[in-house]
Amino acid sequence: MDIKKGKAIVENLLLITDRPLNLDRLTEVFREEFDKAALKRIMEELISDYMERNIRVVEIAGGYQLCTRYEYSEWVKRFHKIDRGSMLSKAALDVLSIIAYKQPITKAEIEDIRGVDTSGVLKTLLERSLIRILGRKKVIGRPMMYGTSRKFMEYFGLKSLSDLPTIEEFTEEDISDKTGDKGGIQTSLPL
């Protein structure tokens, strides 16, 4: 194999791995083709080839890795922030499912179910317009009641709230004809 093809293969390998690629590992892969010294030369050439590019190959932690260029770090950070924000955390999903199934529901009631403080999560969900305030509950303190928004339905691809798969539905259709004992199971749904 010529050096050029070797370099091309290494580029492909660098792309798919997110950890530094070390020479020993490469030597294993290229067994019959290149020895360690040859591979080291290949890597050095690759580093210098990439000098002109917009991303870099760096030697790091005993291996080689593709990485971003320092001068674009602001943009990378900006992207990360937006990217992270686009997925829901596990906590957010938990709260969201509680609200979806139990709305209207107050913060205290959600926390009663989850057993942890949910202020931060509720704020995030409100910011992302996945939930909305439905009004105030007529009890002491008049706490806010939350419910899901139209965006919630878009996010999960639901046509309407009745499209939510409900636990009641499972229990009804799946056991009613067999046992006639609906109430026994439905009593304390954890959602």
């Binding site: 798919i16 955390s89 596990k90 999903l93 179910i113 799946d174 046992t179 199971i185």
Partner: protein
């Protein structure tokens, strides 16, 4: 017992029919119904000899073919009018065969794309376990879980239901069962949890136990990788 034909080649009666039509180089718009019915039934006999379960759909199709055959044998109506009313008894079958064939071919197109795409690789996902817990991105939502559960319930609908009350198979008992298995195996798959269960009440109780454990944050539900099975872990590893 899952009631399904485990023949690799023929996924269903329409597949079998298409195979016969192709093999005999028959015009799909003018199927010699007596011939095809004979061969179809022959195949079913062969399956029986091989001791294969023959799914109900195959038998329904045999009945359909026999019925068309008998209709074709009836003395045909003489007047143009009545023939129009009566139509060709094969028409509906042909429509279904063509429809089936169309998606068959589409599936072949997808197979090609699949084969190509399997040779293309993209950057790995970061190791999920190294991600800070607050940032942990779960692939499994409650909705996924409910869907998975619904599928489990569908599967189990084939099984003989027992008369059992929820008291006997209490949710907390199932919670203990799940935790016992997690103590033993570190992680279990969602499906394996239900695999041994034979009645609906037990499945429902187990699912409720699962939801309860999630609520209590004793367990977590994740997919480690894309396409991986839904897995159950203890929320906190001991030792």
């Amino acid at each position: 017992m899952d009631y399904k034909v485990k023949l690799d080649i023929f996924e269903g009666p329409l597949d079998l029919l298409l195979h016969l039509i192709k093999e005999q180089k028959i015009d799909i718009y003018d199927i010699p119904i007596a011939l095809i019915t004979g061969q179809y039934v022959e195949y079913l006999e062969m399956m029986k000899t091989l001791n294969l379960d023959i799914a109900g759909e195959f038998l329904v199709m045999a009945a359909t073919l026999t019925h068309i055959k008998s209709k074709m044998l009836l003395p045909s109506q003489e007047t143009e009018d009545e023939e129009t009313e009566e139509g060709d008894p094969r028409e509906e079958l042909v429509r279904r065969l063509l429809e089936h064939k169309k998606y068959r071919e589409a599936a072949l197109g997808l197979r090609e794309k699949e084969s190509y795409q399997r040779e293309i690789f993209t950057r790995e996902k970061g190791d999920i376990s190294s991600v800070d817990d607050e940032d942990l991105l779960v692939d499994v939502t409650v909705f996924d879980l409910l869907n998975a559960f619904k599928m489990v319930m569908k599967d189990i609908s084939y099984k003989v239901p027992y008369e059992i009350s929820i008291d006997e198979m209490s949710v907390s008992e199932k919670q203990n069962y799940i935790m016992d298995r997690l103590n033993e195996f570190h992680t279990i798959t969602f499906d394996s949890l239900f695999a041994v269960m034979t009645h609906r009440i037990e499945v429902v109780a187990t699912f409720l136990a699962l939801l309860e454990l999630i609520r209590l944050r004793v367990i977590r539900i994740q997919q480690l990788k894309r396409f991986a099975a839904i897995r159950i872990f203890k929320a906190v590893e001991d030792g």
